[in-house]
Symmetry: C2
Subunit: 595 residues, 2 copies
C-alpha cells in the first residue's frame, strides 16, 4: 500500500526563502501571507491530502467509475465524503473571486494545494481542478447575470464544472468542431453534438454540473473563427438558484482508460441542450485560451505530483528492501542482506527523480507567482511582462514536466523489481495516471510547436530576451561565490546551448518551418533543462548562504541535489542541441507510404 | 483495433543479405537453409501470428486469466485452440533436439518466430517461450531418464514448462531462497515453499505442467552455493508416460498486474511436492545460468516485438488521422485536414522507433547466430569466442532493447493523442505489456551490473577487445565508400566514446566499485547505441551496394533510416559518457535517511 507525505517544508523553503514571497505583499491576497501562514495553510492541505485523499487512491483505481442505465455515474467509494471535506475545508474556493464567495488568496497557493492533492489522488483532484478552470472562464467572460447564477454555487463546491472541447474527429484541430448551436427565441442556444474525453463529465458528487462547451453557431464561419463558447448546465437553474428540470445533455458512456480510473471520462451527448453564450460569438477559442496558461500549468503540476509520490514510495522501498550486498562490502551485517539503497544505481535513480521534483516544484511556483503578478499586479507593464514570461514558459512546463514526470514514475516503479508490476503496490497506478498528463490539455508535441511557432517569436522575442537577462544575472551573481561557481559555470554552458538553439531556430525555422517542427520537442526539453538549472542555482544560492551559519542537513541535501543536477542532468542540453541541428532533411525524406 | 504484419522481408534481408546465413551451412540445422526456405518458414510463422495470435491479444488483455476455487486456471478465450495450432505448426519444436522429437533448426529461426509471436500476442508467446527454456534446461542438465520422461512431451507441446525462482523476500538475490528440498527414500525430494511471479504457472492449455524449481536441500550451505534445481511435475508421470495423480504443487493465486494479463502469473505453493534433481546438487544456479543468455535474449526480443507492433499501428494512424495542416502549406486540399504524417515531429517520432526496431532486429539475429555457433559450431575456439561475445552482449540486449522498446511504445501511443489512452485502441496494452520486460529475467539495473562487473573483465576483457576489432574492421571497410563515409565517421565517434568509457571503468571502477555501479546503466546504453550503430552500418553497406544496381525503395528507406540513426540517435553516446565520468561521489554523498 503506497503512502504520501506532502512536501510542506520544501514549499515553505521555496516560497519564503528562495522566492521571497513577502516582496509580493502589495498584490491583492498576498498582504497577510507570512511564512507562518503559508506553513499553516500548506500544513492543513497536507493533512487532508494525506489522511483522506491518498487512502482512497488505490481503491479508486481498482473500483473505477460506473455508469448506470439512466446515464448517471457513481464515483468510487469514499469520493463523495472526501469531496465534501475538500470543499468545506475551503480548498476549492482558495484563490477564487471574493465577490462570489472565494477567498481571493494567491493562485500560487492553489498551485501548492493542487500538487498535494494530485500526488495523493490525481483522479480525485481533477474534479475540483476542472471546476476551478470553469470558474475562471466564467469569471472572465461571463455576463453579470451568468456570473451571479453560476459562480457562487461553483465556488461553494455545490456544483462542479467541466470543459467540453474534443470530438471524435477533432482534438488538436478544434477548427473541425461539428457541435452546432441554434439560436433560441429567448437568446439562449440549442446545443447538439457529441463530445468525447470529457473529464468529470458526470458524477455523483454534486447536485449540478456546469458544462463549458465549444460549438458552432448556425451560419458561423468555417474553422476556428466560427467557434463559440457556451455554458450548459446539467439541470436548468430555477429563478431561486436551485436546480430545476434536466437539460438535454447526458453521459453516453465512460471510456476504458489506461489510468485515472476514478475520474469519469465521458462521452457527452448534447441533444438540443439549452446553452448560454459566454464571451463574444465566434471568439470561443480565445475565451478558452485565456485560461490556457493556468490549465496547462495545472497539468504540469500533475506530472510533478506523480513523480513526487512515486519518488517517496521508491525511496521508502529502497531503504526497506533487503537484497544482495553493497559492492563495497556488507553494510548491514546483522541482516540477511543490505537494503538496496546501498547500491549506486538505486541512488542514481532516486536522485534523478528527486532533483527533478525539487527543481520542477520551484519552476511551478516561480511561474505561479508570475501568474499572480499577471492577473493582480498594480503595474500594467509588470503585468504584461509577467504574462509574456508565463506564456513562454507554459508549454515548457506542460511538456517537459509531464514527459519527465512520467519517465520518473517508470524509474521509481523499476526500483520495486517484480513488485512494481503488481497493482497492489501502487507503482503501476502512478505510471498509468501520469501517462495522461503528456496527452491532454494539448499533447506535448503540440506544446513544443506552440513554443517554437508562437511563443518564441511573439513580440520580437521579448519574453525570451527577458528570460536570458534574468538567468544571466543569476549566473553572474553566483559566479563570485566559491560554492556556486561550478554550478554557475554548468548553467552557463546550458544557457549557451539554449541561445545557440534559439538562434538556430531563427535562422533555419523561418525559411523552412519543417526545421522548426523537427527541432521543436528537443528545444522544449532543452529549455526545460535550463529552466530547472536556473531553479537549482537559485535554491543552491540560498542553501549555501544558510550553511554559512552552521550545519543544516536539509540545506546540505539541497546542495548535493544541485550538484547532481548540474553533473548528470543538465549536460543533456548538448544532445538536444545536436539533434536540433541535424535539421529536417532526413526527417522529411521518406514518402508517407514508406512508413 | 490494432493490427500486425510480421516483418518477413526485413528478416529475410538481414539473414540472407546482411549476415549471409549461407556461410553457416556447415552447422547442424543450417545445411538446407536457403533464402527461399527462410522466407517460407518466416512466412508461415507470420501467417499464424497475424491471423490467430494477434486477434486474441486485446481480448486476452481485457479478459485475463481466471483462477478457480480448485486452483485451476482458465486462459482467455481462444488461447487453447491457438496453442494447439502453434504446437501443430511445429513452432515449439522448431529448434529443439531431434533426439526427442525436435526439428533441430537454428535457434536463430526460433528467435524470428519469437519476435513475431511476441508482437502478435506477448502473453500468449510466453507459454511456449517458457516451455522452450525449460526444455533447454532439461536437455542440458537432465539425466537420460528425466530427458526421456519429459522432453518428448514438452517438445510435442503436450506439456508446458515453467521456471520457479523468485520468492516473496528474494528476487535478484537468489541466495536468500527458503524453499526446502527434503530427500525421499527413493532418491526424489519433497519440495516445500512458496514461489511468486511464476509466469504460466498454471493454465488449461496442456494436460501437464513441468515446473523447474530452485530449492535448498536440507543441510546445504547457506547462500547461492546451497541452491539446487528440481523438476516438479504438476501431475506425477505414470510408467507409461501418461499423467497420473496430482503432485503437491498448486497455484495459490494469480497476481493483478499492469500488463501481460493473459499470462497467468502465479503464486505457486509447493507442499511436499515430489521433485527430481537436475544437474549437480547445490549447483542449481549454474544450471539455470547456462540457459540465461537465451532467456535474456528472449526478453530482449519482447522489447523489440512490442516496439515493432506499436510502430506499425502508430504509422498507420499517422497516415489516416486528419488533423490540422502541414507547416509548409496544405497537403490534402480535398480533405478537411492533412494526415498528421505531414508533421516533422510525427515523422521524427516514427523514425526514432523504426530506426531502433530495424537496428535491434539486426542485433538480435546477429547474436542469435552467435548462440547457434556457440552451441553447434564444429570448432571449439570459435564456439568459445561466440559464447564470450554473446555473453558480453546479452545484458546490453536485455537492458537496452527493453528500456528502449518500452520508451518506443510510449512514443507510439503518444501519436494517438487521447485515443492512445483508451484501452480499445490497443496502444496502452503495448506499453503495459512491454513494461515487464524491463523487470523480469534480471531487472535492467542488474543487467548493467552484470555487464560492468562480470562480462567486461571476464578473461581479461577478451570479448570486448574482439568486439572493438569487429566494429573497427567494419568502420575501416566502410570509410572508403562515399555513401557510407559519414556513417562510418559517426560510428567511429560512438566507438571512441565506448572505448573511453571502458577505459574509465577500468581506471575508476576497480578501486572504487561504486564508480562502476554509478556508471553501469549509462555504460549499458552507450554500448547499446554503438551496437545499433554497427548494425546500421552493416545494413547501409548492403543497401548502398544494391542501390548501385538501380532504384530500390526498400533500400533507399534503409539508407534514410541509417542516416537518421547516425544524425539523431547515436550522438547520445557523448551524454552517456559525460554522465559516467561524473563518478560516484555525488551519487553516494547523502546518508540513507536523507532519501
Amino acid at each position: 500500500m503506497p503512502s504520501y507525505k506532502a512536501p510542506v517544508a520544501d514549499v515553505s523553503f521555496l516560497l519564503t526563502d528562495v522566492f521571497g514571497i513577502e516582496q509580493y505583499g502589495s498584490l491583492p491576497g498576498f498582504s497577510d501571507l507570512s511564512g507562518e501562514m503559508i506553513d499553516a495553510i500548506a500544513g492543513e492541505a497536507a493533512k487532508l491530502c494525506e489522511e483522506q485523499l491518498q487512502p482512497i487512491n488505490l481503491s479508486g483505481d481498482r473500483e473505477g467509475c460506473v455508469r448506470h442505465a439512466d446515464a448517471s455515474v457513481t464515483t468510487p467509494k469514499g469520493f463523495k465524503p472526501a469531496f465534501r471535506n475538500y470543499v468545506e475545508g475551503g480548498w476549492l474556493s482558495l484563490s477564487a473571486n471574493p465577490d462570489y464567495g472565494g477567498q481571493g488568496l494567491p493562485y500560487t497557493l492553489a498551485a501548492v494545494v493542487n500538487e498535494f492533492a494530485s500526488s495523493a489522488n490525481m483522479s480525485f483532484a481533477m474534479y475540483p481542478g476542472l471546476t476551478a478552470g470553469a470558474i475562471a472562464a466564467i469569471d472572465v467572460h461571463g455576463s453579470e447575470a451568468i456570473k451571479a447564477t453560476y459562480l457562487p454555487k461553483m465556488i461553494a463546491g455545490t456544483w462542479t464544472g467541466t470543459m467540453n472541447l474534443t470530438e471524435p474527429h477533432c482534438g488538436t484541430d478544434l477548427g473541425l468542431i461539428r457541435t452546432r448551436a441554434k439560436p433560441n427565441a429567448d437568446g439562449s442556444f440549442a446545443i447538439t453534438g457529441t463530445k468525447i474525453f470529457i473529464s468529470a463529465g458526470e458524477q455523483d458528487l454534486t447536485e449540478n454540473i456546469i458544462h463549458l462547451v465549444l460549438a458552432r453557431v448556425d451560419g458561423a464561419p468555417e474553422g476556428v473563427k466560427g467557434i463559440s463558447l457556451f455554458v450548459v448546465p446539467k439541470f436548468h437553474v430555477n429563478p431561486d438558484g436551485t436546480p430545476g428540470a434536466r437539460n438535454g445533455v447526458a453521459c453516453g458512456s465512460i471510456e476504458h482508460k489506461m489510468g485515472i480510473h476514478a475520474n469519469a471520462t465521458c462521452v457527452m451527448n448534447f441533444d438540443g441542450a439549452t446553452g448560454y453564450l459566454i464571451g463574444e460569438m465566434n471568439r470561443g477559442l480565445n475565451a478558452m485560451f485565456v485560461m490556457m496558461n493556468e490549465a496547462r500549468l495545472g497539468v504540469a503540476i500533475q506530472g510533478l505530483a506523480q513523480s513526487e509520490v512515486a519518488y517517496q514510495n521508491a525511496a521508502a522501498y529502497a531503504k526497506d528492501r533487503l537484497q544482495g550486498r553493497a559492492l563495497t562490502g556488507t553494510k548491514a551485517p546483522d541482516k540477511a542482506a543490505d537494503p538496496i539503497i546501498v547500491h549506486p544505481d538505486v541512488r542514481r535513480t532516486l536522485l534523478t527523480i528527486r532533483a527533478f521534483n525539487e527543481g520542477a516544484r520551484a519552476l511551478v511556483l516561480w511561474n505561479a507567482l508570475k501568474s499572480d503578478v499577471a492577473h493582480r499586479g498594480g503595474d500594467a507593464a509588470a503585468r504584461e511582462m509577467a504574462d509574456e514570461q508565463l506564456g513562454l514558459m507554459t508549454p515548457v512546463l506542460k511538456g517537459f514536466l509531464t514527459d519527465r514526470g512520467f519517465d520518473n514514475c517508470v524509474m521509481a516503479q523499476q526500483m520495486f523489481g517484480g513488485h512494481g508490476f503488481i497493482e497492489e503496490w501502487g507503482m503501476s497506478q502512478f505510471v498509468r495516471d501520469a501517462r495522461i498528463a503528456m496527452i491532454y490539455e494539448g499533447a506535448n508535441g503540440i506544446q513544443a510547436l506552440d513554443l517554437v511557432g508562437r511563443k518564441l517569436p511573439r513580440n520580437g522575442g521579448k519574453a525570451l530576451m527577458a528570460y536570458f537577462g534574468e538567468v544571466g544575472g543569476l549566473i553572474k551573481d553566483a559566479s563570485v561565490d566559491e560554492t556556486l561557481k561550478p554550478f554557475a559555470a554548468a548553467l552557463q554552458t546550458g544557457v549557451g546551448h539554449l541561445q545557440q538553439a534559439s538562434m538556430w531556430l531563427m535562422q533555419n525555422g523561418m525559411g523552412n518551418p519543417d526545421n522548426a517542427g523537427a527541432a521543436s520537442v528537443d528545444y522544449m526539453h532543452l529549455f526545460g533543462l535550463v529552466a530547472l538549472g536556473q531553479m537549482w542555482l537559485m535554491q543552491a544560492r540560498v542553501a549555501a548562504e544558510r550553511l554559512k551559519a552552521g550545519p543544516d542537513a536539509a540545506m546540505s541535501t539541497k546542495l548535493t541535489l544541485a550538484r547532481f543536477y548540474f553533473e548528470r542532468m543538465l549536460p543533456e542540453t548538448a544532445l538536444r542541441l545536436a539533434r536540433m541541428q541535424a535539421g529536417a532533411a532526413t526527417v522529411m525524406a521518406l514518402p508517407a507510404e514508406a512508413f
